[in-house]
Symmetry: C2
Subunit: 352 residues, 2 copies
């Protein structure tokens, strides 16, 4: 039976990407060798890395604007540490938005290296909204925010204006919507939502912000080291990067971010409309901050739970149980999710 | 044409593993979902992680001896930093063997956190041997060595006896030979030689050595954090871990390390015999320290180079150019390399 995969991450990827990836495991570029058994310094893999990096800049409209692209390891979790290592001055200070569990982990690591100023938090309401009133101190080295909060289903619709460097963890909504990406100085994102499989982290960093902290940075945590080696300071995660490249090419071929944003808006609208119009359901996040990637919702009548769970399981839907800290349901509707799958979920909600 | 893949890493993997990996990309465990689009917390993937960790302990005969197994990210390069973070006391000291480029990178990172005592180095002869005379100071927190030096083709045949903790980077020869693995307190290895694709790092660590440095360790660099989360503190590199599990199962099925060691000895012998008996070739490493994984050799008559290169290329051999810092040739003959491929290389050398 066809599955409708609403997993929060690792998550759905385009079917044609999966087919190409499987073929490359058996015979890559007709080399009669597997993608995963050739040297990362071979012409064939260097071309993959170069193409992936170029596609990122092209899709985000950041070409020739002084940004470097890296495909690293360790997920956003390691970026939580690399960010302060690379940007926080000795005895420095940074401003953090606390909009969920991942923001909290990010600021915890930054505290190891300097002062952290939490400029705003939505913890008071279990992170179900994005704070809009805040003051950013003028003396911070950078401002950090999490654009989309996977667990709670909230999303920044606009970003802080600041003279300090602006850093954004875009793990769960990168490549999903048009933004002026040049407002950010550092963007990072684990691949496993909108870009590829788990195992690589995309980093987009403005070159001229680096090398200014006076810190001794361990090699693997130093963006300048990785940039100087074209993202191959050490053996890169070949397969996750290859699949990311294929997914970025898929996105470009369908018209890029402008085209996918239209689809994403239509998909989110379809589901939120049902949530708002069906008395059996309610949204978990504040309406104006709702994420177009992760739709969190609750049953208003728990007695319907058994029937609802049975219905979606029978329809081949998977991955929509809510995170334990919110409860209810979470439908992750990333770029590769077809609207037809959402329609199936909506039909079930309607029939409940 | 069938290829004979002598790449130093990423490198050859068993054909049946590649087939299973390709199938899992399309449909994993008959879930009608790809391995790379399901949650890492799903029952199906947790079973993969658990099995991979159990197979490591079983194959190395380390069950019930107080070791934990982790599959992390960042390669040996990140372990170069994690080792001192986890084991070097505040104002501490560590002893390092300098037996090649990777040892050098390891000790460079350790210097960021404390005193490094280089107890022995083979740099004087371009790392073509393993130092055997050395004194390890009694007050070091740990001793670090690199069991196999991929670039130079040397290999520790026995390991330092010390009362300090013994740490070993086994990236390029783990699972290739019988050793008393319980002599080590911490073993780490990038997967991309003998275990799987690039993108995961195996760490085997004795639990009771941790938590004793008095350091504040960033979460992602803290072995205790990863152990407490069963190697899923953050999203693990799903695909590289799955392929590693398949390769470990392949190794177990063929009789484990004892069986593969016999094959590896026979394979190395075949190639070294040709090098020693053919006046056109000479080995690059000291005989008693020769690696059974990476066989480095040189032409004694450079005028034969063009003909030799043409011959092996025509035979479908790839990946045997030597590293630029040694020159000549390097045949990497990891576990998955069949002796038939080595015979083809030997035949060409013989006919030259």
């Amino acid at each position: 039976m066809k599955k409708h995969n609403f997993s929060a991450g690792p998550s759905i990827l385009p079917q044609e990407v999966l087919k190409q990836a499987a073929n490359a495991i058996l015979n890559f570029n007709n080399l009669n060798l597997s993608l995963i058994e050739i040297s990362h310094r071979s012409t064939d893999f260097v071309a993959v890395m170069d193409k992936a990096r170029a596609l990122v800049l092209e899709l985000l409209e950041l070409e020739n604007k002084g940004y470097s692209v890296l495909f690293l390891q360790g997920g956003a979790s390691l970026e939580f540490l690399m960010t302060p290592y690379n940007l926080m001055k000795q005895n420095g200070k940074a401003a953090y938005f606390d909009t969920g569990a991942w923001s909290g982990k990010a600021l915890k690591e930054a505290k190891l290296l300097g002062d952290v100023n939490v400029v705003a938090s939505s913890k008071d309401k279990n992170y179900n909204y994005i704070p809009k009133v805040y003051d950013i101190p003028s003396d911070v080295d950078y401002v950090h925010c999490t654009s989309n909060n996977t667990i709670y289903g909230t999303q920044f619709k606009s970003f802080p204006k600041t003279d300090a460097l602006l850093v954004c963890d875009m793990s769960s909504d990168i490549f999903s919507r048009k933004l002026d990406f040049s407002q950010f100085d550092l963007i990072y994102a684990g691949a496993q939502k909108n870009m590829g499989p788990a195992g690589t982290t995309l980093v987009i960093v403005k070159d001229d912000i680096l090398g200014k902290t006076g810190r001794q940075i361990p090699a693997m945590l130093d963006y300048q080291v990785h940039i100087s080696k074209d993202s191959m300071f050490n053996t890169p995660p070949v397969f996750p990067i290859y699949v990311s490249m294929l997914t970025l090419q898929w996105l470009k071929d369908m018209g890029g971010i402008e085209a996918i944003e239209k689809k994403n808006i239509a998909k989110a609208k379809l589901l939120y409309n049902e949530i708002d119009n069906n008395p059996l359901f309610e949204g978990a996040a504040a309406k104006e901050d709702r994420s177009n990637m992760n739709v969190t919702f609750l049953l208003t009548n728990e007695s319907k739970k058994e029937r609802f769970d049975k219905m979606w399981k029978e329809a081949g839907i998977s991955g929509i149980n809510g995170h334990r800290s919110v409860g209810g349901y979470r439908a992750s509707i990333y770029n590769a999710m077809p609207i037809e799958s959402i329609q199936i979920l909506v039909d079930i909600m309607h029939k409940l």
